[in-house]
Subunit: 121 residues, 2 copies
DNA sequence: GTTATATTCAACCAACGAGTTGACTACGGA
DNA sequence: TCCGTAGTCAACTCGTTGGTTGAATATAAC
């Protein structure tokens, strides 16, 4: 436990059941029992899933009599999108640069004598 | 194995080492040995990580003599961002609607007699 | 043909994750 | 006060995962 935030969010959403719960919670807050209803698993299993989502910061739980309404925290999504966008943009930019390079010097496609260093340009 | 694409991508990126490799590959293609260099793990372990990334569609591997240059496939990121954006937008919209509701009828904050159905309104 | 390099495959192990059952706590209501 | 409902905690099982070592494959270099 106590992994980095990004790992927590990614692995929390790696489970289809948990993604499903997030989808359900996007519609509106729900109790543990309500969340458990659609699935064939026990309420304890759902409780565990919610703990994972909570540890990842994706949901919060308040207290309302004996119920614990679960609320989706959309902010954490930003963490992921930022990470993803960063590397996607980087990869796309690199692709564009490679494209430019190939356009200006077409002989670069020929087998280079020093492929050991990779394609860092 | 053979899980849904979204689960594969999310769980592939749930590992910090693999995210690190993606970051490295965003800079440029690399061989397995090059990718293994910064880490204290064996090259076999890195090979396994690459298989996970490949199964998720995040990287592709070509053949170049005895080397297998690894290339980042940025397209798959879209799958994730689409999923994330969908529910983030949904949650934000719900929040806005709830905000409107509370503005128009402030007595809605009072304990309602039917909290069982949640806040789907 | 043999050797060195790059990578993967196979078998194994420890740790983890998702599920279970059973016992427990916390309320609200009769 | 006792019962029913909502939820969590603890202990256990079982499959998966990340790591290892050792052998195998593919190719280049000698």
């Amino acid at each position: 436990m106590a992994a980095d935030p990004l790992s927590l969010v990614f692995s929390a959403l790696a489970d289809p059941t948990r993604r499903d719960m997030v989808a359900r919670l996007a519609v509106g807050d729900a109790t543990v029992n309500e969340l458990a209803a659609p699935y064939h698993v026990t309420v304890q299993a759902v409780s565990k899933h919610l703990k994972v989502l909570e540890d990842a910061g994706l949901v919060s739980r308040s207290r309302e009599a004996q119920r614990r309404p679960v609320h989706l925290e959309a902010k954490v999504f930003d963490l992921m999108t930022k990470w993803i966008e960063r590397y996607r943009r980087q990869a796309e930019e690199r692709y564009r640069r490679l494209d430019d390079l190939l356009r200006t010097m077409p002989e670069a496609i020929e087998p280079t004598p020093t492929p050991k260093t990779g394609a860092q340009t």
